[in-house]
């Protein structure tokens, strides 16, 4: 319980830190929401007037603390661009990113574990060589290429989905997922390649240890040894890696969301940054930070579960 409270307070601290840092960033970078929203009709005076109206001229501290005060009450403010409460704006983006993340993480795990293990098992063999080559290629292919190729192949040639179509979750959950799967694949492929590479190294290291020999002496099947005995040990560094991947996709994949016209958080974030829509950026980043902290916290717990020697 004490542990829990400690973690919770450190979570809050992190969020606070991030929000302060973000706030400072917005002070530092050129442009603000006033200038950004006025565009080429901006002149010094109009920008000034709008700044005044938006409260951008108030004292820095006053602004931060009033934001903080509201945020603590769950009110993340109004988007300067969309003139909508931020929470409402994000509520609609959330499921997109979330489901995209869930699907891609599932794909990553389902594909990378068997391939990583297979590759390590036959280290130096043909399948290993093939997998290694493919993973390196997949890692080197930029995500947007992948997205385009997937759309081309599955969308235009095979016609398994209609590119650009997006059916919201509330409309039809089944179809929604159907449309999510392809972007999820595009996200998953490079990450899967990385995970495979990582897992492979880790498994190879484990396979050299004596306990594997013991497991073999018992008459275990090679696969059982790999999955039951080695995997748990080998997973210790890999979990960290997967956690980073999870945090990454939960933050929203900007490129993929854009390519597949998904209105997710990642795209929202980029738009908001370029519009200097402070409250939106702040809310999204706080969300991401919370996700990251919580996931890392979970990872620490998983360590404890997997590796009995570890005291975290």
């Amino acid at each position: 319980m004490k542990y829990f409270i400690r973690k919770l307070s450190s979570l809050i601290l992190t969020l606070l830190l991030v929000s302060i840092f973000l706030f400072i960033s917005f002070q530092v970078i050129p442009g603000d929401s006033a200038a950004a929203s006025l565009g080429t009709s901006a002149t010094k005076e109009t920008v000034e007037a709008l700044r005044e109206e938006l409260g951008l001229n108030r004292n820095v501290f006053v602004r931060y603390f009033s934001w903080l005060g509201n945020a603590l009450c769950g009110d993340f403010g109004i988007s300067a661009q969309y003139n909508m409460p931020v929470s409402l704006l994000l509520k609609e983006r959330m499921p997109v990113t979330l489901w995209l993340a869930v699907l891609s993480i599932a794909l990553i795990i389902i594909i990378s574990i068997p391939l990583g293990i297979q590759s390590a098992k036959k280290e130096g063999g043909v399948s290993d060589r093939v997998i290694t080559f493919l993973t390196h290629t997949a890692m080197a292919v930029p995500p947007f290429f992948l997205g385009i190729i997937i759309t081309l192949v599955f969308g235009l040639i095979l016609k398994w989905f209609i590119p650009g179509r997006y059916i919201s979750y509330s409309e039809n959950p089944g179809q929604f997922l159907g449309y999510m799967i392809f972007p999820a694949i595009a996200i998953a492929i490079p990450k899967t390649a990385m995970t495979i590479k990582f897992l492979r190294s880790s498994v190879i290291r484990q396979l050299k240890l004596d306990y594997v020999r013991t497991a073999r002496s018992k008459g275990n099947q090679e696969n059982v040894i790999l999955y039951r005995h080695v995997l748990k040990n080998a997973f210790i560094p890999v979990i960290t890696f997967i956690a980073m991947v999870i945090a990454d996709v939960l933050a929203g994949s900007i490129i993929i969301e854009q390519l597949f016209s998904l209105p997710g958080m990642g795209r929202m974030l980029v738009t908001a940054i370029s519009n200097r829509d402070f409250s939106v950026v702040q809310a999204i980043v706080i969300y991401i930070a919370a996700v990251v902290v919580v996931i890392n916290f979970l990872v620490d717990i998983i360590y404890r579960c997997i590796d009995p020697r570890v005291r975290v």
Partner: protein, 552 residues
């Protein structure tokens, strides 16, 4: 794993003693090599032998002579670096090298099983002991119900001399003492009642009482189930008591073989003779066997100690406990006390022995003394800034990513004040002193035999002339010749530099030979401390008595 043993020689093994029993295992001229910088080192060279059904065959030999490699070859468990260069192995009429992997797999564990030499590293660190043992049943007796399996597992653990098996079942290897892990290995290997049991130094970490129990267990299996055993041990006394026939390995070849009686009474080869001669004997101490010469105790020993004023180590009311991680997340941790109110002193130049039951807290005490355990109370005053320690598990205590040369050099680098040349020459010197050739500086630990690793660990602890060294079962994996050499070295250095040792061993002969005073540990407490002669002559505590009885 590579198999190449297709070229079968015409004579079926060297065994002349063909009696009624069919050979269960026939090893035909196997040769196993490791590639080293282009040339092949043969670790096992043209070795042939047979084990008949129901026989216990002993295998003795120098450390590094290829015993383990031979055993692993039979099991088909050689590492990738090793290659079988020739020969064949027949088990139950089947050529193991030609068996399909799947068929071979089914034999493993079920018909042939093996107790590995290094129990410390041979268990899976992230699986409970119970599961790892039970897995054998899962694999080979899957008709059993879960409850039944657990019952059998607990019984097997108990038979191997483990107590509190219900708790043990849920524990992880790192929570166990060296001897406990070894017994888990034993339980695991025997649980399926295999036709052939390969026991590679199965009792190295066990105190005499438990050793006797285990040997009894092996013999019982042998008699009740007809299990054949390949019993590898450097302890000739054990071989003598357990086996009927035995052979001696030297530098990868069979030096001599025959019935145990013949071997012990009339060794023919020079090496065997040397082996027999080197058996440390309780009588090898200066004044002869203490039991026959009660006066020996008086003889200067007490004087030597009483005059000592300067203590190198003082331990007062030491308690050591481990935090047992809670089974459930977030629930309270529990404390387990393993060393209970221990006080002891070691004076400068003294060797204090610790004997005691496996799991009684010897290693924990040792680690606490040198400051490796934080969860302790009490006082430890150590007058040496850099105490050294030979860990019970040499493999785990040396850096697997580094070569032997580096490992030995590291203490010198840390001590400072040596030029690179001096360091190199000191490394070579100590390497020779522990009986390893120069080229071993270029090897990784994984490329050494058990005994060789142990010697590297000893070398690393000795090299910087620390005034106080803890030796936790330092010679458990060494054959008598090497053991004698190492003990001599330890003695020599101790004399030369006035070193003090805390010497943990289950081998009373070694204790007798080395130590000035001995503490007997039992269930976390020191139940008796005495001058070595005194203890051997007149043990007071019932456990001490039991211990000594077992030796005789």
């Amino acid at each position: 794993m590579s198999k190449l043993g297709n070229e079968r020689k015409n004579n079926l093994g060297p065994s002349q003693l063909s009696d009624v029993n069919q050979p269960l295992l026939t090893v035909n001229h196997i040769t196993v090599g490791f590639q080293h910088n282009g040339n092949i080192n043969k670790a096992v060279n043209d070795v042939s032998f047979q084990i008949k059904e129901g026989e216990i065959l002993g295998m003795a030999g120098e450390s590094g002579s290829g015993k383990t490699i031979t055993a692993l070859t039979i099991m088909g468990l050689l590492s990738k670096e090793a290659s079988v260069l020739g020969g064949s192995i027949l088990f139950d009429g089947k050529d193991l090298f030609r068996l399909k992997p799947e068929e071979f797999r089914k034999i493993k564990g079920n018909q042939i099983s093996m107790i590995f030499q290094e129990p410390m590293t041979s268990l899976n660190p992230v699986m409970t002991v119970g599961y790892q043992t039970e897995e054998m049943l899962l694999l080979h007796e899957n008709q059993l119900k879960q409850a039944e399996r657990k019952r059998k597992t607990l019984a097997a653990l108990k038979e191997a001399g483990l107590k509190d098996t219900e708790t043990l079942y849920y524990q992880y290897p790192h929570q166990l003492s060296g001897g406990m892990r070894q017994r888990v290995m034993i339980a695991m290997a025997m649980i399926c009642k295999p036709k052939l049991l390969i026991a590679d130094e199965p009792t190295t970490a066990l105190d005499v009482t438990i050793q006797a129990q285990i040997l009894g267990l092996i013999q019982k299996m042998n008699q009740e189930y007809g299990t054949s055993v390949l019993f590898i041990s450097h302890d000739l006394a054990v071989i003598k008591n357990t086996c009927t026939r035995a052979f001696v390995m030297q530098e990868g070849e069979i030096a001599e073989e025959g019935t145990v009686r013949d071997l012990f009474n009339g060794p023919k080869k020079a090496y065997t003779k040397k082996l027999m001669a080197a058996i440390p004997d309780l009588s090898s101490r200066k004044t002869g066997f203490p039991f026959s010469d009660p006066d020996a105790v008086q003889n200067g020993q007490a004087v030597l100690l009483s005059g000592k004023e300067k203590n190198i180590l003082e331990v007062r009311n030491l308690h050591v406990f481990y935090e047992e991680k809670a089974k459930k997340l977030f629930s309270k941790k529990t404390r387990k006390q393993v060393v209970n109110n221990v006080s002891l002193t070691i004076s400068q130049g003294e060797i204090l022995g610790i004997v005691g039951e496996s799991g009684s807290g010897k290693s924990s005490l040792a680690k606490a003394v040198v400051g490796l355990i934080d969860s302790k109370t009490g006082e430890v005053i150590l007058n040496e800034e850099r105490p050294q320690m030979v860990f019970q598990d040499p493999y785990g205590s040396l850096n697997p990513a580094k070569k032997v040369g580096w490992i030995l050099e590291e203490p010198l680098k840390l001590a400072g004040g040596y030029s690179q040349r001096e360091r190199k020459s000191k490394v070579l010197k100590i390497l020779n002193e522990v009986g390893l050739p120069d080229e071993y500086t270029e090897r990784y630990l994984s490329q050494l035999s058990g005994g060789q690793r142990q010697r590297v660990a000893i070398g690393a602890s000795l090299i910087r002339n620390s005034k106080f060294i803890v030796l936790d079962e330092p010679v458990s994996a060494l054959d008598v010749t090497v053991q004698a050499r190492i003990l001599e070295l330890l003695k020599k250095l101790q004399k030369e530099y006035d070193l003090s040792y805390l010497f943990i061993s289950h081998d009373l002969k070694v204790i007798y030979q080395m130590c000035d005073r001995v503490c007997v540990m039992y269930q976390g407490e020191i139940v008796e401390t005495a001058f070595v002669e005194e203890l051997f002559r007149k043990p007071v505590h019932p456990y001490s008595k039991k211990l000594l009885e077992a030796v005789l």
